[in-house]
Symmetry: C2
Subunit: 344 residues, 2 copies
């Protein structure tokens, strides 16, 4: 009646517990016929290895920790980012037979490092996925590395050599978006920068500059406004940009929440979108499709990125050299209704 253990399986299959262990862990050196006997016994007894025992003996669990900036610490605009992150990680976990532990953390606190270490040392996860912008913060990364736990960084902003990471081509695709806008005839293309703590987002600004240059357009500080990734900051920047003496005919925001803020302001100001003003965002969160007109944006492959990360960590050889260190999954431009030809 009690839950079957590895001993019960061994007895039924007529082998030693070590052989059962080999079968369960897909290790080599088991004769196919033996393997089959063991698998039958497992099926008959409905045996499931106890993860606690496994973790204790092997010194790491089958848990993967997902760490991201705590939305409760500030005013969370849409949450789409986090949900995508989780969805991807969950997908990777289910393929890899691991479970997902979520651990938002507030990097603004002094003790984050200590708190993070406590989390990792107590749960001993098989690996950690760190989302941006935490992925580009030394104090976070160092705290994780101090525990010796494998870690994959998402969009760390710069490919610092040997650490594992999964990113998208923020800079290139931002340049592409800018060229697309220029191709529509826009001469005055503004940019709203995002959270300065977020390096990958900063790369989008660099891409914007690249795109301008490639399109033969001059960069001008007067066409740049500093946001912080929030809807509200998008509104504020839009007001500033649109009420200037020579307003832009297109605004490219470093993320969708801010782009949605711009749209809201345009509506309030009775500016036709995309007739008088084109608006482009970045991320393709659910909100981008819910506003009207739907936002032209860059589809960031966040779900796939997180999935890859979980998959890499799920393999026990996450520390090995075999896997590529810094993976890049390209983003794609989604043209919807908020962009159009420049007005005369």
């Amino acid at each position: 009646m009690a839950r079957p253990t590895i001993f019960d399986v061994a007895k039924v299959a007529g082998v030693s517990i070590k052989t059962v262990s080999r079968v369960v862990n897909n290790e080599p050196n088991v004769r196919p016929s033996t393997r089959e006997r063991v698998e039958n016994a497992i099926a008959v007894l409905k045996y499931r290895p106890d993860q606690s025992a496994r973790s204790l003996a092997s010194r790491h669990s089958h848990l993967i920790g997902l760490i991201y900036d705590d939305p409760a610490a500030y005013d969370t605009p849409s949450g789409g980012y986090i949900l995508d992150l989780q969805q991807g990680a969950l997908k990777g976990c289910s393929t890899g037979l691991t479970e997902l532990l979520i651990h938002p953390c507030n990097f603004r606190k002094k003790k984050v490092g200590v708190e993070l270490k406590a989390f990792i040392e107590q749960t001993r996860p098989a690996g950690i996925i760190v989302a941006a912008p935490l992925s580009n913060m030394p104090k976070i990364i160092h705290a994780i590395e101090a525990t010796g736990t494998p870690c994959v960084r998402l969009s760390p902003g710069n490919d610092s050599g040997k650490r594992l990471s999964v990113s998208t081509n923020d800079r290139d695709v931002s340049a592409e978006m800018t060229r697309y806008l220029a191709g529509l005839g826009h001469k005055r293309i503004a940019f709203i920068t995002g959270d300065p703590d977020h390096k990958a987002v900063a790369n989008r600004f660099l891409g914007y500059k690249d795109g301008l240059k490639e399109s033969g357009l001059e960069f001008s500080e007067s066409l740049v406004a500093a946001g912080d990734n929030s809807f509200g900051s998008g509104e504020a920047c839009a007001e500033k940009l649109l009420k200037g003496k020579r307003p832009p005919t297109a605004i490219f925001a470093a993320n969708d929440d801010m782009a949605a803020g711009v749209l809201r302001v345009a509506n309030r100001l009775n500016i036709d979108v995309p007739g008088q003003l084109s608006i482009a965002g970045f991320d393709d969160i659910a909100l981008a499709r819910q506003v009207e007109p739907a936002l032209t944006t860059v589809r960031q492959p966040l779900v796939q990125m997180a999935e890859r990360a979980a998959l890499v960590l799920g393999k026990s050889n996450a520390n090995d050299k075999d896997s590529q260190n810094a993976e890049v999954i390209p983003a794609v431009i989604k043209i919807r209704e908020s962009t159009g030809p420049a007005p005369h």
Copy 2:
């Protein structure tokens, strides 16, 4: 250099490991002076109990599993519900020294039960929090109960006696909202029902009927439309309701996503809100504050509900009789801009 174990602490403190264990677990029968010595040793060595070892010996982990309907299985509108759920559970966990495992599951699948059992048996969580609508599905609840793991249901819809649950007063507060609308002079108040699988949501419909009766208004089938909790279904129901021969002057939707859908349709149809049409929702997700005009809605205390659940499970005595079985945390009406006096 290796991580300190309970033996190291015992040696430094000059006591047995059992005493260290007592201190760590806040058990009684330790002299204050001894306790202090042990605590010092713990601090000096930076000792942290290994949860795997604890779990193995005590037969349950310090993990809490949060189970909810998989948003990836259908078109997720806002995600606000899930984020609130997680935020509350996380809050309860941090107080109780447990960590949160998330496990969305798709109840539409035949094998959910088996899959759920596998999840629980492998991770041996200290407790499970089941969100609605899974919390009112027998096959889900039975699968969990079969594992013997303590479980708190969120908004199960009916207080089925002895099981642990945390709910809100869906029915009463819906009646209150209906009375509020009637008090504004509305005679034709329509209702959009939600996901039929979701019992707590069904209670809102009952509350609507109660409110009608209490306000001396006649219930009419022609003023009811069947949605499924999604934004899109809200739009469809609104079209149906608004394009009828005698359209309502107020629409009360069983959740905010549908209410937002109604608002979208009203905008498209150039119907002034709240001048010509009042709209009320339920849940108070972030979206309710982001749309324009901001939605009058019912603030469901989801964060607190999930927090309570995690707290109850975090205490080892979750199975004891001492704690109240079915807790109710009342919801509150939030009047914003989408409701107003009935037109003539």
